[in-house]
């Protein structure tokens, strides 16, 4: 589903230097507001077309109001307001990061190429110039050790953010993440807290090959003592980043390689997203579709088709992968009685598998049909584009699944 944003006077994409100065930018948008007509910025994120500012097409589409992503939990609703500023998801992450680094001098970043290079996805661009090489630390390629270093720093009073250049690299840090990050608070009898944030891009990209297309949320989910969240829009990316940094618990923030160029208007005022809550993307009546990260966009695209076919899906972006927000999910199930889970994890042992179990355990009586879980195939992600497309869930499959579920 294409996320449609109202962009007023936002013809030029935000360059990194602009986005630091959001107030300044806001002023300029206000000035330009008066003389401009609103136009639609369509960002397609179905994995087959270029994302973001490169491909801005002005299409006046039939606006199906319900099919659009609305932020149910934000104070400023973007569709109508002229406040806020527009930016790309990676800029939103950077903004959140910068605000927290300004707010608390104990917040620091460490990872490969986060400093001078600005981050492989530009999330930390410019920060090293502003905060210095020690606060935005370029580490050698030693994931296990620098993650452990982050944990030691967290134990002794700092609030580090460890960036995995690709989430898959954090497999090398599994020892530290599992044993120390997750368990140390417990084994020390509560004496040491580990307010660390581990973040990085994961998920299936565009023909990145098997090892760069991993979904580590399924491997990490059993580790006791950590929280996992996945961001999917610039709004919740910034909100979750800030919440994760402020949290006293170790949080793993999963970003997605293909979502970094999503553009959205976010509020100027400071806000945080709750780490444990799910996000209602589209209220509906017929079926509950639970999803997260990139699959949210596949689901929304399928939702458009479904709406045209007369279905009314309720789409929830679960956001919190561990723990699950069973309240939001439960309320939805109690309303619709049918559940479809759409995820990018592997079939075996993925987030969907856990979610299926949790729902069955808690809401079995409310279900009119078995839970359907659409996940990626248990296949190492192939390089060939055609094969890669068939390993992840596509909107057409989602439509078919809903139709079958709602029979």
């Amino acid at each position: 589903m294409a996320a449609i944003f109202l962009g007023v006077g936002a013809a030029t994409a935000l360059s990194p230097s602009n986005c630091f100065d959001s107030k300044k930018f806001q002023l300029s948008t206000r000035r330009s507001l008066s003389g401009r007509k609103p136009w639609f910025l369509v960002v397609r994120s179905d994995g087959s077309v270029n994302l973001g500012s490169n491909q801005r097409s002005r299409r006046t589409q039939q606006l199906i109001t319900n099919a659009v992503a609305t932020k149910a939990d934000s104070a400023a609703s973007t569709s109508a307001s002229k406040q806020g500023h527009e930016l790309l998801l990676f800029e939103a992450l950077r903004e959140g990061l910068e605000e927290e680094m300004d707010r608390d001098p104990h917040v620091c970043v460490m990872g490969e190429d986060v400093g001078h290079y600005g981050g492989s996805y530009k999330v930390t661009k410019g920060l090293a110039d502003k905060y210095g090489d020690l606060r935005v630390l370029d580490t050698p390629i030693a994931e296990n050790s620098f993650t452990g270093m982050g944990i030691g720093a967290a134990m002794t009073g700092l609030r580090p953010i460890v960036e995995g250049m690709n989430m898959g690299f954090l497999l090398l840090a599994f020892n530290q993440i599992s044993n120390n990050c997750g368990m140390l608070h417990y084994t020390s009898g509560g004496q040491f807290t580990i307010p660390i944030v581990i973040r990085g891009p994961g998920g299936v990209g565009r023909q990145l090959g098997a090892e760069h297309s991993q979904r580590l949320e399924s491997y990490f989910q059993s580790i006791p003592g950590i929280q996992m969240v996945a961001c999917s829009t610039p709004y919740n990316a910034k909100g979750l980043m800030k919440a994760a940094i402020r949290s006293e618990n170790p949080v793993i923030l999963f970003e997605h390689v293909l979502l970094y160029n999503l553009k959205e208007r976010i509020p100027d005022e400071e806000y945080i997203c709750n780490l444990e809550e799910a996000e209602m993307v589209r209220p509906g009546e017929h079926v509950t579709i639970l999803t997260y990260s990139r699959m949210r966009y596949h689901v929304m695209q399928a939702a458009k088709t479904l709406v045209n076919k007369g279905y009314d899906p309720e789409v929830i972006d679960i956001r919190s992968l561990k723990p699950f927000d069973l309240y939001t999910i439960g309320n939805s199930i109690k309303k619709t009685h049918r559940v479809l889970i759409v995820e990018e994890c592997m079939r075996t042992g993925g987030i969907g598998a856990s979610l299926t179990a949790a729902i069955t355990e808690n809401f079995h009586d409310y279900l009119d049909a078995p839970i359907v879980c659409l996940s990626s195939q248990d296949v190492p992600t192939p390089y060939a584009g055609t094969l890669e497309e068939w390993t992840v869930v596509q909107p057409a499959q989602i439509v078919t699944a809903v139709e079958q579920l709602c029979q």
Binding site: C108, G148, G152, N175, L184, T187, G189, G225, P323, F363
Partner: protein, 427 residues
């Protein structure tokens, strides 16, 4: 300070190889040339061809001095320091012996790794630290905890699994932590603690340079064994510590055996101290059975770190008198080797030194031993009488912020559920 121990020469790693090799020969009280090959292991001869061939050319002619001669010139320790060191080592030894007793009586379970024989390293290093300095250890951490100042009662209770233990009974023998005394653990996997120590050192540097706390000169000590020195985390952290000049000292307790694996059988180049210069830090080798020597080297290494000159690698040649753990039958090690090292018992050596240099009398030392006996007995009593953790403790420390357990089906946070605080909630 005798020139033989001066650290000023060690700043440039390139010349270190020779000087260290030169010094190590002359360091120990017991002539290593006699026990030359056997100091690195009991079952194999050390092949040191390549090392020796380079020696002649680059070795500096340092005055060769044995410790005893240095001592005659200048006192290494005062009486008070001497008694403090003795008391700490006796505490370590008695405590560990009591642990063994209690284990066989069924008061503690699981894996218990005792430190008998290695007390000189712990005492030699940790007694030089301030309270704010951090120590990171391995599973053989009881004595590190005691030396750092964690009360014997708290450690014994932890071993018994009682709620009054230093980690509320949740850590156990291998996970001793104390925030008050800056003991950052207690790690079961080898090598796991070294990055944590590097992080603590990083915080110290960060405080000084970013937070502008100019007087922050906290040093971190990382203790680990010979087996760990073949592990990736060791090398990765040596690199990072040297790269950023972190205030850390890497202390290798080379007791020649990793459970049943002889250091020589596992390591291509068994001389661990040489790995320091490869990363740009000085590498020391010291006789770990002699607390005074360890202390001298430790002083330099710690001062170096405090001055901001970066990390040091110190290899302490030591030995554990007991098996790897209380479950280890210890059949593989040569009894002759054990006997040889038993003759170098650090406690006996210090006692001899204190008496011979008239720093303390036999009676004073006996009094210390008696006092420690009482401390250890008291610790056992305390642990015995303490209550085990109640069920309500089960879920308490999983998260620092218990909201991390999430929102339950009823809309409330799970941690607000009364069953949660009772420990019976299913999360």
């Amino acid at each position: 300070m005798a020139t033989a121990y001066s650290s000023a020469k060690f700043v440039q790693p390139l010349s270190l190889n020779s000087t260290i090799n030169g010094r190590s020969r002359d360091n120990s009280l017991f002539d290593p040339l006699k026990t030359g090959t056997s100091f690195l292991g009991s079952t194999r001869k050390l092949r040191v061809n390549s090392v020796h061939s380079n020696q002649g050319n680059v070795r500096r002619r340092l005055p060769v001095v044995a410790v005893s001669e240095v001592v005659k010139e200048k006192k290494l320790i005062t009486k008070q320091e001497g008694l403090e060191l003795y008391e700490d080592m006796i505490l370590g030894r008695s405590f560990e012996d009591m642990c063994a007793q209690m284990y066989y009586r069924g008061k503690m379970f699981g894996f218990v790794h005792l430190y008998n024989g290695q007390e000189a390293v712990s005492t030699g290093f940790i007694k030089l630290l301030k309270k704010e300095d951090s120590v990171v250890s391995t599973y053989r951490d009881h004595v590190h905890a005691l030396s750092k100042g964690v009360p014997a009662r708290a450690v014994m209770s932890e071993l018994f699994g009682k709620a009054t233990g230093c980690c509320r009974g949740q850590g156990g023998s291998m996970h001793m932590f104390s925030k008050e005394h800056n003991l950052l653990g207690g790690f079961a996997f080898i090598g796991e603690g070294i990055p944590v120590a590097t992080g603590a050192a990083f915080t110290s540097k960060y405080r000084r340079e970013v937070l502008k706390e100019a007087d922050c000169d906290h040093v971190t000590l990382a203790f680990f064994g010979d087996g760990t020195c073949n592990n990736g985390q060791f090398f990765e952290c040596l690199n990072m510590a040297a790269l950023w000049k972190l205030p850390i000292v890497f202390v290798v307790e080379n007791n020649l055996w990793a459970i049943g694996m002889s250091h020589l059988r596992a390591t291509s180049d068994p001389q661990i101290y040489k790995k320091g210069p490869a990363f740009g830090m000085p590498g020391f080798h010291v006789d770990g059975m002699d607390v005074l020597k360890v202390r001298e080297v430790a002083k330099e290494a710690i001062e170096r770190a405090r001055r901001g000159e970066g990390p040091t690698l110190v290899e302490c040649e030591t030995y554990r008198f007991r098996g790897h753990s209380l479950a280890d039958p210890d059949e593989l090690r040569d009894p002759a080797e054990k006997a040889r090292y038993a003759a170098r018992d650090p406690i006996t050596a210090l006692k001899k030194y204190l008496i011979e240099s008239s720093l303390a009398s036999e009676a004073e030392l006996k009094a210390i031993e008696k006092k420690i006996d009482e401390v250890v007995e008291d610790a056992v009593e305390f642990a015995d009488e303490s209550a085990p953790p109640p069920r309500s403790q089960l879920l308490e420390n999983v998260f620092a912020d218990p909201k991390g357990f999430g929102i339950g089906p009823d809309g409330r946070y799970r941690c607000e559920d009364p069953k949660f605080t009772e420990g019976t909630a299913h999360v």
